[in-house]
């Protein structure tokens, strides 16, 4: 893990910030720090020097300036729902919790945006916009709790990405504070901006480039014409073929999700959505659009599922049934949580055509290593979420689960995909970054980071591995007889 050469201790830290925020909002004793020892990536835990809970922008800026003066690293945190350890605290830094900056400053129905603080939850935006007939499209499964600041940091997705895009496609403007306390605004209410596309770089930068203090997010009109279709298949391959031909034939579903047998069973027992238990795979397809176009799409999806040998095709008859179909998918993670003490959630993305091969390889790895895997899949955009089931109490099982996870991610890279579609790298996938990227690409990332944060104060040690780390990982992990990062000295 990263260690920053700081001179500060937990004892002297609070006094440094007394002129920045109220003493009650500076947590620096161990029992108060415990709730912050990790985010939703719970495999590792550590304590920061202090947790700071500012309530105003002025306080945030003062804190950042003080950290700059004192050379104290900052890890920014929202709701702590991140799955890859992006908000994992570091021992020699502070944890800056922005969840109190949770005001919706403005809903602008004419220009279709909401101006919000970083601590506003994803769902709260859509709730506030509803009276204007608008909503915020990206909908990560943690949307009830996760904050927009965190969504920007991770470039969060959700089930509606194929049609409506990721966070990066739905953020119009970001105001952030740089490592030295400068306020910078990138983007605007316009369709196009000037200069370099700073918004692209900030979205998904895992808090390493700047600290978001305000965002304007794009709102879309709520579609009142919606259909949900459930189709069951005797094999994953058939379901995969259905996905490819739906899209190849001109339908872009609002959501297209696949679940394997393990998930179907787990969710059926957990919340009874009415899924067919004899199916090897099911597809959930949500369609929206203008009247006749929607009818055409429904017919087309049914037809393509039939051609792909669906054993059951069911169109939800009303809103209640639509919600029921979705209920199982949305409960997939907690349902698996009932079956196992612990699980690791992978996040690889692959070109859809490799789905059948990748899933059969995952089954092979799972048998080899001896841990169960259940698969949910954002099929429309190729984003896999294999859930690796293990028990932290059994010695060595976490290591086995991590080994299995690593193999799955490397498999995704080998078929032309990526190690993370929407959860981020954080601390969890640092080693796999060494597999996906060459040394000079990682160096380019590092130089880009230094353009924003030359003092390396913002979330150090996350997302981009050092070449040193890659060399050490590579030494354990030689692929196809080819030594990765061969130009580096070995120790």
């Amino acid at each position: 893990m990263y260690s920053h050469k700081g001179m500060h201790t937990r004892k002297d830290i609070p006094t440094l910030f007394y002129d920045c925020l109220a003493e009650a909002h500076i947590l620096a004793v161990e029992e108060k720090l415990r709730p912050y020892e990790c985010d939703a990536y719970t495999a590792y835990k550590s304590l920061p020097l202090a947790v700071l809970l500012p309530e105003t922008l002025e306080q945030v800026i003062k804190i950042i300036k003080r950290c700059h003066q004192e050379n104290i690293p900052i890890v920014t945190r929202g709701a702590g729902t991140g799955l890859s350890g992006g908000a994992h605290p570091i021992n020699n830094g502070i944890l800056l919790n922005l969840s109190k900056l949770n005001k919706i400053h403005e809903i602008n129905p004419d220009l279709q945006f909401a101006r919000v603080g970083p601590g506003v939850t994803n769902l709260a935006i859509s709730e506030a916009a509803e009276e204007y007939g608008l909503y915020y499209a990206p909908d990560p499964s943690s949307q009830i709790a996760c904050t927009i600041g965190g969504n920007i940091a991770e470039n969060s997705g959700g089930v509606h990405c194929l049609k409506y895009g990721l966070t990066v496609h739905n953020i119009l403007e970001i105001t952030y504070v740089s490592y030295d306390g400068e306020i910078i605004t990138a983007g605007s209410e316009c369709y196009e901006n000037f200069g370099y596309d700073i918004l692209s770089l900030l979205n998904g930068s895992e808090g390493m480039l700047g600290i978001v203090i305000e965002a304007k997010v794009r709102l879309l009109p709520i579609s009142h014409n919606k259909e949900v279709i459930l189709a069951a298949f005797n094999s994953i391959e058939d379901a995969g073929h259905a996905v490819a031909s739906i899209i190849a034939n001109g339908v872009i579903p609002a959501g297209l999700e696949m679940m394997d047998k393990a998930i179907i069973h787990a969710t059926e027992y957990f919340c009874h959505p009415g899924y067919p238990l004899d199916a090897e795979a099911i597809l959930l397809c949500e369609l929206d659009g203008f009247e006749d176009s929607l009818k055409w799409e429904v017919d087309r999806v049914k037809y393509e599922c039939q051609l792909a040998n669906a054993t059951l095709i069911s169109r939800a008859q009303d809103k209640t049934q639509q919600d029921l179909f979705w209920k199982g998918r949305k409960a997939a993670f907690p349902a698996i949580g009932q079956l196992t003490n612990d699980y690791l959630c992978m996040d690889g993305t692959i070109p859809r055509k490799h789905l059948a091969f990748v899933l059969s390889e995952i089954t092979r790895f799972s048998n080899e290593i001896g841990l169960g895997v259940a698969n949910v899949f954002h099929a429309g955009d190729g984003n896999l979420h294999p859930l690796i089931m293990y028990d932290l109490n059994n010695e060595g099982e976490l290591a086995k689960a991590e080994e299995l996870g690593g193999k799955i991610l490397e498999l995704c890279v080998s078929v032309g995909g990526t190690i993370t579609g929407e959860h981020g790298v954080g601390i969890e996938k640092l080693n796999q970054m060494c597999v996906q990227f060459e040394s000079n690409e990682l160096t380019q990332f590092e130089n880009l980071k230094l353009a924003f944060d030359p003092a390396r104060l913002l979330n150090p040690g996350k997302a981009i591995p050092t070449l040193q780390r890659c060399a050490e990982f590579g030494a354990m992990h030689v692929h196809h007889g080819k030594l990765p990062h061969p130009e580096l000295p070995r120790f």
Partner: protein
């Protein structure tokens, strides 16, 4: 379609330029030399680096080398009933894919589908150190590392040569029609904003000489219904009309005056500027044909929180784009240094100081 890999040669050229500290002007089909700042530097042609590397209709992406002519790619997509969602203008038959991405050009469909930047899935670049780097990929979702690929869009080649790019595609709608309605500018804005609140399958809007043109696309039945709802007269040659808009073939775009591209919030009032204007993108894009000076245009767009680009000019101006200031300007310089420390690639093409 030609298929020609030139990366080693391009790397060599950059390394030589580095040694001799000789700046390079990256050039594809030379169709967009009118756009952006003009600079004097040795020409590095990427026109020969051509070919479609991967096209998977069912995966909704295409990957091609930068020198591949845009029209050849679009013709190939059309065979599979697919299109670029951003409907790129080409400004000439020789326009290449790389140049289109480097300029960040989106056309009439932009507000209703995606911008070109939204569609970038991955790029391979050669940076100013002559390093060949791969970012992003061919999948819709990818958050491994910073999103360098997308940042190449609109950077005018100042951060690296885009040697290949993967872009997202959408299906070509079955049919389209364009309706013409007579309105005053304020009425036209109101109508466009009213339709922004609906799920009507509108795919383009254009306002010129008190006529609002609205394009809708989809299946036959839907289009008929939209015609009933919106009204107006149907334009006979819808396709050619929108080509004339996006390629600036209309008379408006070809006067002797300066042509300014002004991005403004869609509900902005008239900018207080002399001369004629037309609107696209729900009123969010306004083209001004004017003799008014740079300061006036820039101040007028700034006052409504917009940005202005001197798109076409009779003279050769030093700075065509809205300037970043303060910490944002410093960040631009830092980023340029991070990718091109010796200032070899298109120096001054985006900003005279960059």
């Amino acid at each position: 379609m030609s298929d020609n890999e030139q990366v080693p040669e391009l790397i060599d050229t950059i390394k030589q330029a580095l040694n001799s500290k000789q700046p390079l002007l990256i050039q594809g089909g030379d169709s967009k030399s009118f756009y952006g700042n003009s600079i004097s530097a040795d020409i590095l042609s990427v026109k020969q680096h051509t070919g479609v590397i991967d096209y998977e209709p069912s995966e909704l992406y295409v990957t091609a080398r930068c020198g591949t002519p845009l029209r050849e790619i679009e013709a190939m997509l059309a065979e599979h009933n697919q299109i670029f969602p951003f409907e790129p203008p080409s400004f000439g038959d020789d326009a290449t894919l790389g140049g289109t991405v480097a300029c960040g050009f989106s056309g009439p469909r932009r507000p209703y589908a995606s911008s070109i930047r939204d569609c970038v899935l991955g790029t391979h670049i050669i940076n100013g150190k002559g390093e060949y780097l791969k970012f992003g990929g061919q999948v819709m979702k990818n958050v491994a590392g910073y999103d360098v690929s997308r940042a190449m869009c609109g950077a005018m080649g100042t951060l690296g040569i885009i040697t290949q790019v993967s872009l997202k595609l959408i299906p070509q709608p079955e049919s389209e029609l364009t309706l013409m309605l007579e309105y005053k500018p304020e009425q036209a804005l109101n109508i466009m904003h009213q339709y922004m609140q609906t799920d009507f399958p509108i795919t383009a809007t254009y306002f010129e000489n008190n006529i609002l043109y609205i394009r809708a696309a989809g299946i036959e039945k839907t289009i008929k219904k939209i015609k009933q709802i919106i009204g107006g007269n149907e334009l006979q040659d819808s396709q050619n009309f929108w080509v004339s808009v996006k390629e600036h073939q209309r008379e408006f775009f070809n006067s002797d005056l300066n042509l300014w591209k002004c991005n403004v919030p869609v509900n902005s009032p008239d900018l207080a500027v002399e001369g004629d204007y037309v609107m696209e993108w729900n009123g969010g894009l306004r083209w001004y044909s004017t003799n008014d000076g740079n300061e006036k245009l820039i101040a007028a767009t700034k006052s409504v929180r917009g940005n202005a680009t001197l798109f076409k000019s009779t003279s050769k101006p030093n700075d065509c784009f809205t300037q970043p200031t303060g910490a944002l300007k410093k960040l631009h310089s830092n980023l340029k240094t991070a990718f091109d420390p010796e200032n070899i690639l298109n120096p001054g093409r985006l900003y005279s100081w960059l």
